[in-house]
Structure formats: structure tokens, C-alpha cells
């Protein structure tokens, strides 16, 4: 289990407790967090679950796969150094407290 805090595009925050093994995208979709689309359902095929990982978590996450890195090259909102696809971020106890922000557009 880990707590994940989501910042919605308008700045509202929601904190959810997620089971280990759940993706950050799945947690958001299940709870109705605003700002995530996840059109491909977590297949790393659409880049519509783009998020900005908040400090200090970026360095604590496993590195993105080649596919994720390539998908990130053309996300709809601005790509930043802390951009990740939330479907590829898998919750584990070491990420308790993780915080991500969703951009104002995904497609």
C-alpha cells in the first residue's frame, strides 16, 4: 500500500491509498481524478495519461522504458524533465507519498 497524491489540472489535490502493483494511472481512473484519459488502457500506446512527477519523487522511480521515453517525445501538453506516463508508474511501498500532477490536456 502507498499513498499517492494527485494534483488535478485546476490545482485541486486528491490523496488515494493504492495497493502495491496498481499503476498510478489505474488509481486515478478508478477514483475519477480529473486530467487523465488513458485511452489505450495502460498499454503505453497513446500517451494520454501523461503526468508531471512532483519533487522529490522523480529520482526514486524506476527509469522509463525505451517505449515510454519515445512516447513522451510527443505528448499533447508540454514535455518537461519530470514528465512520465502514469500507466508505467507502478505503486510499491517505497513510493508512499508519491505526488503527480496531470496537465490540462492529454489529446
Amino acid at each position: 500500500m502507498a499513498q499517492v497524491t494527485y494534483i488535478e489540472p485546476d490545482g485541486a489535490t486528491r490523496t488515494l491509498t493504492l495497493a502495491a502493483g496498481t499503476s498510478v494511472m489505474r488509481g486515478a481512473v478508478d477514483a475519477g481524478v480529473e486530467g487523465v484519459e488513458a485511452q489505450c488502457g495502460g498499454n503505453c500506446a497513446c500517451a494520454t495519461c501523461h503526468c508531471y512527477v512532483q519533487e522529490p519523487w522523480l529520482d526514486k522511480l524506476p527509469l522509463p522504458s525505451d517505449d515510454e521515453t519515445l512516447m513522451l517525445t510527443n505528448v499533447a501538453a508540454e514535455r518537461r524533465p519530470n514528465s512520465r506516463l502514469s500507466c508505467q508508474l507502478i505503486v510499491e511501498p517505497g513510493l508512499d507519498g508519491l505526488s503527480v500532477r496531470f496537465p490540462d490536456r492529454q489529446s
Binding site: A31, G32, Q39, G41, N43, A45, D66, N74, S107
Partner: protein
């Protein structure tokens, strides 16, 4: 019309859920009812022909939205409910159980039906097609049984669904034969060079591919299929048969209610039907393009984007959907991503390693880029998507040159198209 009545959405799939979501995001505060004819809450269909066949898991992993999400957005679900008619004069829906519901506005997201095989023996047991989660479970079980009993799986149709099922069957250890009526795979949507790449990959994985196969009948005993016969006199033994010969837009309710339909509910690019109180989105629609052609798309993106337009149209505003269509398919370890519509191309160039295969096919018409199919070339796909959405085109020479950065065209164009898509 009762303006206090809820907005009703018929069809609880990808498009229906998105209309409900978007209505809330756009500020609609009235009642909202999402009506589904299955017993499951809204779920994703693409995995049903892919991962789900290999490891059917918890339904919650397929959920399009969690119960919390629906509750938070005050989206009410009415499941196990079959609508029998739309009474447009009274703005009411009728259900099989006699119930009636009034609407202020109506959205139709009835999806598509698997095209049925109209041949002798098609109703035998273990002749399966794929549309719902129950279908996927049945196919998954049949593939496993065939693998365990050493009986072959016959797939009729070499399109996306048929090939994804074939790949899954091989992964589960079953022998597979794909019978395709045309001379190559996925011929409706891809260039020969892409079909050939998939042909090599499927054969390398042990799939028997038969082209030009005209299936004439299915034979069986004790109510269960045992073989598939083709016009050339061959008979293919089958422990199960999976039929993947395309889909038919489900426009039955709309057509019966007198809405304009043409193998799909006719909509404009704002998802409006011929009735100003009714919108439609997703697989059930046929969209009139600027050049007059009718476009029928079966994809998640089309469902989602048309649904966003439909929600806005229900609130009396316009949000035309004109973005380049994209699709994806997983077969073995190849990630196929397609963007644009290749219909009418006059030139194809490739970028990358065709034999591996890890390449993209760029389709041009009169020198302009119209579509790109990428096989395990994620970057090409993402960049092409942006190029097409911005109306930009590399030259065929640039597209074929792996040293040329497609991205550079976007950078150069940026000042002129600031935030164009």
C-alpha cells in the same frame, strides 16, 4: 420535451462513458443515466483480443472508470437493460421489460456487432466471435482446450482481431490456421509491405496462413464444430473456430426510429445526428467527411474524441473532431501503431528495418503525407501523429531517410501553428 428529464446515454462502452464524463466536465449538472445491456460496469474492449486471452484477470483491471469515479461525477448506471425503441415524438425510451424513460437529450453509443458468418454450420458449438468480455472468456477457454487436446484452432479472417487471436493461440501452445479470403493480411487498412511483414512474423511463429480461402461450410458432430471447408475442396480440422470478419455498426435502434443511417448512424463532425435532440458516437456511427465520403472507424480514439464532441453538442455548442485517426494492435512482440487514413495513397516509403521488422510505412497522396503505419517504431508514430494533426508533411525522401529528424518539421512550423491541434 421535458427539459428536467435526464440525459440518457444508450450504450455503456468507451463512447458512452466518455460522453457522461465530458458532460460533467463541460458543466452539465442535471441527471445523467448510462444504460448498458450487459451486467458488467463499463469496461475496455481492446485487451479482450490481446492480453485478456492469455490471462483473463479481475474485471476491475478492465474497468473504464471505477465506481468511485462514476459516483463522484454523479453518473448513474442502469445495467442489464435492453432498449427496444426510441419514441422521438414523446422523447422516451422503451425497454424490453415494458419500462419507459423520458429524456431531455439522448446519446446513442450502441457500438458494433461482430459480423456473423452466414454459412451452413456457423451456429455449431465452438464457433466463436469476439465482442464482449464473455466472448473473450469463451475464446480463451477454447484456445487452452485446443492446446491441451492437441487440436487445431481455425481463425476465419486475417484482420486485427483474427491475427491477435492467432498470436494468442500460439502463445498458449495451440496449432493455428488463419483462413483469409483476400490475397494478404489486413488488406483493407495496410500496404502490402506491412501485410508481408506480419505474414513473415506469423509464419515464423508457426501460424499456417491460407490466402484466397473461400469458406463454404463448417462441419461438426454432436453439435460441435470439427472442420472448416473451403471452395477449393480442402477441409481444415478444427477444435474451435474463431470468426473475425469485421463488425457491423449497431444502428438498429436509430434506424427503427427514423434517424438517418447508412451502415451506421450518420453524424457530422460534431457528432450530431439528423435529430437535434440526439447525438451518436463511437463504432455505431458513420461520419460524413468534408469530401463527402463516409468514414466508419472502430477505435478507442474515435469513440473518445467523438464522445467529447457529442457531449459539447448536447449542450448546444460545437467541438468538431478532425484529428488524425489512430489505432494500435499487439501481435507477438510487435507494437503496431497506425495514424491517418491511407485510403487512396499513391506512394509508400519505409523508414527503418523492414526485415526485423522495426519500420514505418509512410503513405503519400500527391506528395502529401496521409498516414503512417509503425511496427515497433514508437517515435515515428508519435511524431507522425503530430505532423498529421498540424497538417505538415515531410517529403517522401525525408520520410525514408532515417537521418532526417521528423521532429524538425514541427519545430520549424511552430510559430505559424502555435498550439494548432
Amino acid at each position: 420535451m421535458d427539459s428536467q428529464a435526464p440525459i440518457l446515454i444508450v450504450g455503456a462502452g468507451q463512447a458512452g462513458v466518455q460522453i457522461a464524463d465530458s458532460l460533467r466536465q463541460e458543466g452539465y449538472t442535471g441527471d445523467l443515466l448510462l444504460i448498458g445491456n450487459e451486467s458488467h460496469p463499463p469496461y475496455q474492449r481492446p485487451p479482450l483480443s490481446k492480453k485478456w486471452l492469455l490471462e483473463p484477470g479481475a474485471l476491475s483491471a478492465l474497468a473504464l472508470r471505477g465506481a468511485d469515479a462514476l459516483q463522484r461525477r454523479r453518473i448513474e448506471l442502469k445495467l442489464d437493460s435492453e432498449v427496444t425503441a426510441i419514441d422521438r415524438a414523446a422523447s422516451r425510451l422503451r425497454f424490453t421489460n415494458g419500462e419507459q424513460l423520458a429524456y431531455s437529450k439522448l446519446a446513442l453509443t450502441t457500438g458494433a456487432l461482430a459480423r456473423a458468418l452466414a454459412l451452413p454450420g456457423a451456429s455449431l458449438g465452438q464457433v466463436l466471435s469476439l465482442r464482449s468480455i464473455a466472448d473473450s472468456g469463451a475464446i480463451s477457454a477454447a484456445l487452452r482446450r485446443c492446446a491441451a487436446e492437441g487440436r487445431p484452432v481455425v481463425v476465419i479472417g486475417g484482420g486485427f482481431i483474427g491475427l491477435e487471436v492467432a498470436a494468442s493461440a500460439r502463445k498458449l501452445g495451440a496449432a493455428v490456421t488463419v483462413l483469409e479470403g483476400l490475397p494478404r493480411l489486413m488488406s483493407r487498412v495496410t500496404a502490402p509491405i506491412v501485410s508481408e511483414a506480419f505474414e513473415r512474423v506469423h509464419r515464423a511463429h508457426g501460424v499456417e496462413l491460407v490466402f484466397g480461402a473461400q469458406v463454404t461450410q463448417l462441419r461438426g458432430s454432436a453439435g460441435c464444430v470439427e472442420s472448416v471447408c473451403t471452395a477449393d475442396g480442402r477441409e481444415y480440422a478444427a477444435g474451435c473456430v474463431v470468426v473475425g470478419i469485421g463488425v457491423v455498426p449497431d444502428d438498429r435502434l436509430a434506424a427503427a426510429a427514423g434517424l438517418a443511417c447508412d451502415r451506421g448512424i450518420l453524424v457530422d463532425d460534431c457528432a450530431r445526428t439528423s435529430d437535434p435532440s440526439i447525438v451518436a458516437a463511437g463504432d455505431c456511427t458513420a461520419r460524413r467527411l468534408a469530401d463527402g465520403r463516409l468514414l466508419r472507424l472502430e477505435s478507442v480514439q474515435n469513440a473518445v474524441e467523438q464522445a467529447k464532441s457529442a457531449a459539447v453538442a448536447l449542450l448546444g455548442r460545437e467541438r468538431p473532431f478532425r484529428a488524425a485517426p489512430w489505432f494500435w494492435s499487439d501481435q507477438y512482440d510487435i507494437k503496431l501503431q497506425m495514424v491517418g487514413l491511407s485510403h487512396g495513397y499513391d506512394q509508400v516509403v519505409t523508414r527503418g528495418d523492414v526485415q526485423k521488422p522495426s519500420f514505418s510505412a509512410f503513405y503519400f497522396r500527391a506528395g502529401r503525407l496521409i498516414a503512417v503505419d509503425s511496427l515497433s517504431r514508437v517515435q515515428d508514430h508519435m511524431q507522425s501523429k503530430r505532423l498529421l494533426d498540424h497538417g505538415l508533411s515531410p517529403t517522401p525522401e525525408q520520410a525514408a531517410d532515417p537521418q532526417f529528424e521528423l521532429q524538425s518539421l514541427l519545430r520549424e512550423a511552430k510559430p505559424a501553428t502555435a498550439d494548432g491541434a
